[in-house]
Symmetry: D2
Subunit: 342 residues, 4 copies
């Protein structure tokens, strides 16, 4: 079965496996002080265009979200998130376990927090005379792309940054699938922009070609993040394992190329499905596609193509998610069409 059900169910790009193999025989400095990590940090700083950025490598997304947020929030502060945001729904309360409330706002159909929604929430909050008895907003959490494949525009991010400045909030962007965003058609968001606008964001590895790992980028030096991530169990003893992977990902544009492969396949998938009359909800320019398939179509895919059902409808149709990834091939996309046309 060809599996489009998620983008974190396979290993890593061949370049990374080769580097791992090559490094396996040697001894490396521990806790992120190895030469691979140093090189990877340098390459990431260069890609962002900010030589003063501080970079740390963590293992996974939930760990990263909770560790970063707990390090940038005061105890009485919470984080604004889309109600459908990963930290609000699918992290088993990891942020709350560090003592912070996730303050949820309604997202749009694409899972995005609109600047207007944030602005009016903040305005209402501070207009409410009882707000000192409420959880003070300390940060905005965005995922880019969102859980529904939504992409922020540069203009939207600039307005959100301005709101953060106005109200004294930090801006944190979850880039678990960032490779696919950077390669998306028509996006005007790139790494330098994120490095400029976000107090902290991360470049996802786990879902974007690495075995595992997320590169956390702080706009300014953040030396206290060392004990902070050690304390949360997020400091890998063999830090070279993560540094090596990001070193490979940021060599010869591998990260961008892996993202482009997934997006090319996702766009081909979208075109082919559209040509077969399929509608999408929502439309997505990311590697995640959300077609609504008829009962008949679902039956044809069954057992041949793996996907996730997100919502079932009374007539037997369903909203499903098909994920491409850096390792998806055009042939696999064609296999979807073949199944539907059979």
């Amino acid at each position: 079965m060809i599996d489009f059900s998620c983008d974190y169910n396979c290993g890593c790009a061949p370049e990374i496996l080769a580097a791992l193999t090559c490094a396996n025989g040697a001894q490396h400095a521990t806790y992120g002080f190895d030469s691979y990590s140093a090189a990877a940090k340098e390459k990431i700083r260069a890609a962002i265009g900010n030589p003063g950025a501080d970079v740390y490598f963590l293992v996974g997304g939930t760990q990263t979200n909770a560790t970063v947020l707990s390090s940038i929030l005061a105890p009485w502060e919470g984080v604004l998130s889309a109600a459908s945001g990963h930290i609000a729904v699918h992290e088993a309360g990891a942020v709350e376990a560090t003592g912070h409330k996730v303050l949820t706002l309604e997202a749009d159909a694409y899972g995005k927090l609109s600047p207007g929604t944030i602005a009016s929430w903040l305005e209402s909050f501070f207009a409410d005379g009882t707000h000192p008895h409420m959880v003070r907003p300390g940060a905005v959490y965005l995922s880019h792309p969102t859980e529904y494949g939504g992409l922020y525009t540069a203009a939207e991010l600039r307005v959100i940054r301005a709101l953060c400045d106005e109200y004294g909030l930090r801006l944190f962007l979850d880039g678990a699938r960032l490779a696919y965003v950077l390669a998306a058609r028509g996006t005007d968001v790139d790494l330098p922009l994120l490095g400029e606008l976000c107090d902290v964001f991360y470049i996802g590895g786990t879902k974007c070609g690495a075995l595992c790992g997320e590169a956390v980028v702080f706009r300014r030096p953040q030396p206290c993040f060392f004990p902070a991530h050690k304390q949360r169990g997020a400091l890998l003893a063999k830090g070279y394992l993560l540094g090596l992977q990001f070193d490979a990902l940021f060599t010869d544009d591998l990260y961008l190329r892996l993202g482009a492969q997934a997006i090319d396949c996702a766009m081909a998938l979208r075109e082919g499905l559209r040509a077969r009359g399929v509608s999408f909800f929502p439309e997505s320019n990311s590697n995640q596609q959300f077609p609504v398939l008829t009962a008949e179509q679902l039956a044809k895919l069954k057992g041949r193509i793996g996907f996730e059902v997100w919502r079932s409808f009374p007539d037997g149709s369903a909203l499903v998610r098909l994920c491409t990834s850096w390792r998806t091939t055009k042939a696999e996309v064609e296999a979807v069409f073949a199944a539907l046309d059979s």
Copy 2:
């Protein structure tokens, strides 16, 4: 330079690298529901001789200690540990960050908590009329081997287990270096015994031949550990990465063989140093050796052999730590001697 400074500065056993390479092309069920993890759990249960044991794979030691302890302690409970224990000293307050106090007891010269020390502490605690105002002991934390290479005997562990039963405590054993314990000369502690006596313990991978990973073994089914470790950011999305490694480690006794290699080298190192008149403090049967070297000896090793200085003395001598590991060779041990004899 031949580096004996620690046992987590290199990659993994060739068998594991081969398995990783082999699995890289395929898609695997996520979050530990893959076939490798299932096989590894089965093999571990068999090695322990407890078909009802519940096994989870986590990434690293600090993460494992904090995640396990916070899942088995009530909010008002703390954990008893040697004052020199890893959770008490070198985890940046990870246990406290989950809300629990580490209650420290003086260890012996080998870093061990003697049953007598535990017994008299517990007796004193409950004899103190103010104890309801104090942190109630909820678990005993042992590391085996200890930070100083100390090994518990089966008899000691049985007494500690009995104390836990008497006072309603859970017994948790940190086996980050367990491979080296299982292979130690003269030990009567094996996996079935740990599975019988500990409420929960872990089988270290990071320091014992894996790239990373610790196998947490609960004596009884512990379904709530799934959300518990997800919440602490300790659930790896690509769980197969860990399952695969433990599957390899528990195939054809690889784990025991890797341990034996380290111990053989450590014993050879000890013999050779002894033959050169070196004393040890403390004596260790584990892969960590703690010789006291003279200023002259230190000078000879400098630049040729890597090691950690644990304490410097006024006369220029020092207590140092030399770690062997699964990948140490007899030739490397000979190189130490050659340096000393030069």
Copy 3:
């Protein structure tokens, strides 16, 4: 100015002040082991009809909510609450600060969580295959009366109890204004029923005639609550201060009489306002009344009668809250009418 703005802005019932004065010269056992506390606990157990109930006295509401919830939830569990519930909105994240998520459900117009809402939420939660990655519900939090003066019926509470049993949840009822509920017209909820249905609830003192204090009642012995509330800073050194107050409140039905006074005044207020054509949103049988007053009416009250504005409308009218309390007099109610009729 006659102040109806809240029910916790004055001292205590004369009987309590007399008792405090009387006890002031003597020495009392500390930490709740005094004779007043013992007597108060006995009287509360008798009022509930459960000799096995365990009673603790805490100082205030937010402290009680966070302390109780953190003592009955597993780390990975959250608490279901109305989105408008006090713990969800106005406690500055006290529950989250103990590591637990408040899972919010939409309440009805009275601020009540309907059994149907809870049931369908639970059904959906467990039907969602990804729920092990979500915060597991561990308890239901109800406030009775709600923030909007809503009262649960015995039948509703029984259904919610049955849901808790079905899904393994604990039921916790916040009775900060319980005196006013017990005296409400037409209610069929009394102390024995709460003692039967709730795993734990509290009998509010602060808002119901005491200087301060909340009596927490566990259905079953809960010895661990002693260290639990000590740890949260919620154990009063001079416990007799709280015991004495509840001893007085549960002597000669003082608690019920104080509640009845507030309700009598609230009902008189409601009738008088109704007679003047005022509508309420929502209708309330509690001591909190929520009339919608016209701009003209608001102007007439201004400077004479204190109240809280909850929502202002474009035409100058407003939804306001008028609170009666145990010390409100009929003359004060008449003063509202006089102001409106002036």
Copy 4:
């Protein structure tokens, strides 16, 4: 029986009871915004001589310690304390429950942390290359007087302050028994000095003449402490209850007079015991006296005088604690002598 067993087992000074009685009939602004609190804060600022100090009123000591510390420490920071300090021993892990480790140092015989001990601990800590893996010290906690009646000198406090400045630590002083310190013979520590040297300290009410309450004084404005203490359940709804008490305590030097009464009695007690050949361990200038009584003396006191036994010796003698308080009379002290002489 005349009870010298502790200093928090009775009510409040008559002046406070009178003020409470007087205020009982009126309505007061809530949450500390009442006129009593405003007046009390003004008087405390004047007593300290720092018009910019920020003052908050909390209910009890454990609550205050945990709330203050959690508001001034970063997540990865701990607090230095004497191993015998209240936060380290008798607060059921309240500080750890907020996520912070209590880093314990050996105190001297008086329970004091010597500046030298602090200095050498800090020097060793930062000299240890592994310190980024350890809990970083963020504050120093002193209790004045200590658990053993020890008093810091102005010179000692100045050195500790200098150490805090040198290492970037905050200085927090627990003044639960501060009235007794201010009145101690020969002390050169007064309120202005504490206000100058401590980032934050508190003026104890519970043990020093109030029903309950501690006045927390920050050297500089600390607006975030409002949500911080609300979040920890430490904001009293009827804040006037605390403000009123401190208003009374800081009117006409009541606080100092209450302290002096206790100290006069303690000194008389000490002299009388000394005259009877009793030795003390340690010597104390505070309201707590620690005589070592013979078996015969203990027998004579039994049933007549209440006290706490801190340590029993094989020969039947014991180290006991006798506490005087603001309400102790010379006649009560004489009663001790009469019992011993009987």
